[in-house]
């Protein structure tokens, strides 16, 4: 009933015949991400539903159009979760969109990213073939890891049909410890935690306070609480959800929002604007009126990269430019999977 793979396959074959570029969409909740793409819309939303879920196997398989909320609800019933804590950015967010955009939330540095939890997938490639890669087991090294390659490709490598993901039990207990400090101090504290065997599973600095979430068994949380300085934050769950969904006051201002990726211990960068540090300092949100070239140069000099996450300027190139050799490899790789270049042209980079 909800298996629309044959219909999607026909749409791809038709597009191939007429060489019509396609714009793959889900619910549209991530349309603000990446670059705009032309093309005929192919909507994956009707292809939905959880195909298989056995909590004892720690694996869920669901079609791409399945609302993320539906998946999380099914997991929660069995006391499990998507450990990469994906942001939704809308109630209608789908699994496919989340993975195509490689979105992970506050737990990412401590548990792994969206792609880390991918075990296998089924896609439609640019020849209109339905292909299955990976599997439903934790360990699988047969063939190239095409499943994880799909994560963050913004639909440029195929129509994502379904994914099998590893899931984890929800922590038995969790507490968030908050302390007022400077950004530099927060960076020092958060990176120092990387070297400590405490069950930290989120850490951020909101411009004023450093918040550290400790999760695990009741005893582990109680014990670690005594080792990390600060006060217990009330309603911490709502705070982390607001951070994940970009609903904190920091994100309310208009203007360009940059996502700056650096090594976690990188000192505060000399760029004007306001900062919010997530992922223990490894993912930094910047609101700034500085010139994009200047921002890129500054972040690059620290070995990092920057993308334009939200912007009113549709023409701005959203992602960090790639070195020439690597870009050529992206082009040849895309044409090995999508030879007629029909999927999401330009969504990731111009000329890709």
């Amino acid at each position: 009933m909800n298996d629309h793979s044959a219909i999607l396959q026909q749409q791809v074959l038709d597009a191939l015949n007429t060489e019509t570029p396609l714009n793959i969409t889900g619910s549209g909740s991530k349309s603000f991400l990446g670059n705009p793409t032309d093309g005929q819309t192919i909507n994956v939303c009707p292809h939905r539903g959880i195909v298989h879920y056995d909590p004892r196997e720690l694996v869920i398989t669901a079609r791409s159009g399945t609302p993320l909320g539906e998946i999380e609800a099914a997991l929660a019933e069995a006391g499990q979760m998507l450990a990469f804590e994906p942001p939704h950015f809308s109630d209608s967010a789908t699994l496919g969109g989340t993975l195509a955009c490689a979105l992970s939330g506050p737990r990412r540095p401590y548990s792994g990213s969206a792609r880390d939890f991918v075990l296998g997938c089924q896609i439609l490639n640019g020849r209109g073939e339905i292909l299955r890669f990976g599997g439903q087991v934790m360990k699988n090294v047969a063939g190239y890891d095409v499943s994880r390659l799909m994560v963050g490709a913004f639909g440029t490598l195929g129509v994502l049909l379904d994914f099998s993901l590893k899931v984890l039990p929800c922590p038995a207990a969790s507490v968030t410890v908050t302390r007022e400090c400077s950004a530099s101090e927060a960076i020092g504290n958060m990176s120092a935690l990387l070297g400590k065997p405490y069950p930290v599973d989120a850490a951020c600095y909101d411009g004023r306070n450093c918040h550290v979430r400790i999760s695990g068994s009741a005893q582990a949380v109680k014990e670690a609480r005594t080792k990390i300085r600060g006060d217990v934050m009330p309603h911490a769950e709502a705070f982390w959800a607001a951070l994940r969904e970009h609903e904190l006051p920091f994100f309310e201002h208009s203007g360009t929002l940059y996502r700056v990726m650096v090594k976690p211990a990188t000192p505060c960068l000399p760029l004007e604007g306001s900062w919010l540090l997530d992922w223990g300092g490894a993912q930094r949100w910047l609101r700034s009126n500085e010139d994009l070239a200047k921002i890129r140069h500054c972040v690059e000099s620290e070995g990092g990269h920057v993308s334009v996450f939200r912007s009113d300027d549709p023409l701005i190139d959203k992602f960090h430019p790639l070195p020439p050799h690597l870009f050529v490899l992206h082009q040849t790789l895309k044409s090995s999977i999508d030879p007629k270049n029909i999927f999401n042209r330009g969504r990731l980079y111009k000329n890709l």
Partner: protein, 489 residues
């Protein structure tokens, strides 16, 4: 390809222009140590072995081979178990043995940058001073190199909790067959563009030559403790595994051994295993002191409720090490009771374990070849060891056939033909069980995007459609043959 001796001479002269004379080996005697890897039934002398020590040399070698269309096989420590580093008679074997520098340990960012020939364990040893370690621990970790680990996406006994190599690396420097140096991934948690880091990991040396690896380091857990449980029935042990997972505990390691493996290991290292048990489980818990104590209580209760005949927590670190020593010595222990053994590496959904073990038992009787089972139970990775004698005519062939049937069974129950050892040359035919022609064709297209002429480790990892047709093991999907375009043999 330069099969003509004169062309070979020219190639070797060119290689000697790139490298010092002692780094280009061509005498049969010098080539012998490189004739195979951990899968010793396959052996082949290469045309030459080269031992570069700089990235520039690797680039020049690959540029030359690309220009001359000479195939290249990269090699780390040669501990691989699927023949991935098996040389080609007409090819160059590129050893990364001289790349053994730890370039940087960055404790504040919890990462390390190393050359590909650094041993897996050496990274953890170097990081230990900072209370950090590198998590993936393949059982060959004392010898295997990080470059090989990346090429194979190696696992280990702690995968369920800490992931495979792909989950624990950040950045690679890779030389393409054309000699270009690429940086893949970044020192940051993700990088712009496609996730080539994932694609490169486990690509078995077919997409590029890894010349530098940046790994993620983790804080060493405060405490690790292991519980041993004995069962009078393998199925009960399997159910206990599911019960542990269902209780919301992710053990650091969860290993199962069957009777033959238990007895072989016990006779070899005297680990204190119960010899009469049909199966044992080793369940390791790590974390903070309080967390481990709490989880051990829960685990002991689960194991008792699952019908364990005996549950023992290691009394001290020495006993914990001894319990593990038994498990880690299982392969050589089996080697003592049989002239040869053949190790299989399939993964299955855990709930299929009783069915799969029963079928393996039945097949063992049919083939007249005993099997010892060791099992990374937490992540469904089964290592049946077939006992055989290569000196008995036909026994190796029968063993290989038996092995393929086990892998076919793994695929039938929703698993895979290799969990961590790779496809290499060994499971090239078994790939035809798992993938249909469209997927295999796609793999070849991906390979061509990196290596147009197919010169890097050709003949490994991904079979040609022709080979699958000859092998006759393709899927028949919906009553349709996978390769209608191909002749049948």
């Amino acid at each position: 390809m330069p099969t003509h001796p004169k062309i070979n001479d020219a190639l070797i002269r060119s290689l000697r222009n790139i490298l010092p004379a002692e780094s280009v080996l061509t005498d049969t005697e010098e080539l012998h140590p490189f004739e195979g890897d951990g899968l010793s039934v396959y052996r082949q002398l290469p045309l030459a072995v080269v031992l570069p020590e700089t990235i520039e040399q690797v680039q020049s070698i690959l540029r030359l081979c690309h220009q001359q269309r000479v195939p290249v096989v990269a090699r780390g420590a040669g501990t691989g178990l699927s023949g991935g580093a098996l040389p080609l008679a007409e090819g160059v074997l590129l050893s990364l043995a001289k790349f053994k520098q730890i370039l940087n340990i960055d404790p504040v960012n919890a990462m390390a940058t190393v050359q590909p020939g650094v041993r897996n364990l050496a990274i953890s040893e170097a990081a230990a001073a900072y209370g950090l370690y590198y998590a993936p621990d393949p059982s060959s970790q004392i010898a295997c190199t990080i470059g090989g680990n990346v090429a194979e996406n190696s696992g280990g006994v702690h995968c369920l909790k800490y992931g495979l190599t792909v989950h624990n690396i950040l950045m690679l420097k890779v030389v393409t067959m054309e000699g270009d140096l690429l940086t893949i991934g970044a020192e940051t948690l993700d990088s712009p563009g496609y996730d080539l880091l994932a694609l490169m990991t486990g690509s078995e040396g077919l997409l590029g030559v890894i010349v530098e690896v940046t790994v993620k380091l983790l804080a060493k857990p405060e405490r690790a403790q292991v519980v041993l449980a004995a069962f009078d029935d393998v199925i009960k042990a399997g159910e206990a595994v599911s019960a542990i997972i269902a209780a919301g505990i992710i053990p650091a390691g969860l290993e199962m051994m069957d009777k033959l493996a238990i007895q072989a290991a016990e006779d070899f290292v005297h680990a204190g295993y119960p010899r009469e048990a049909e199966a044992i489980l080793l369940c390791e818990l790590d974390g903070t002191n309080a967390e481990v104590s709490e989880h051990i209580l829960t685990i002991r209760q689960i194991l008792n409720n699952s019908g364990a005949t005996e549950v023992r927590t290691a009394v001290d670190e020495a006993e914990r090490q001894l319990f593990w020593k038994g498990r880690k010595s299982a392969f050589p222990a089996v080697g003592r009771i049989s002239p040869d053994y053949y190790c299989i590496d399939g993964t299955i959904p855990r709930h299929q374990l009783p069915h799969v073990l029963r079928r393996i038992g039945e097949m063992s009787a049919e083939y007249g070849l005993p099997v010892a089972n060791v099992f990374h139970a937490g992540d469904g990775n089964l290592h049946p060891l077939i006992l055989f004698d290569a000196n008995q005519p036909g026994e190796l062939a029968r063993t290989e056939e038996f092995s393929r049937h086990i892998l076919q069974l793994c695929v039938e129950v929703g698993g895979t033909i290799t969990g961590e050892h790779g496809v290499g040359i060994e499971k090239i035919d078994a790939m035809c069980f798992q993938f249909q022609s469209a997927e295999l064709t796609q793999f070849h297209a991906v390979k061509a995007a990196f290596d147009e002429f197919g010169l890097l480790n050709p003949g490994k990892a991904v079979p040609t459609l022709h080979r699958c047709a000859e092998f006759g093991a393709m899927h028949v999907h919906n009553g349709q043959l996978s390769h209608p375009e191909l002749e049948r043999f």
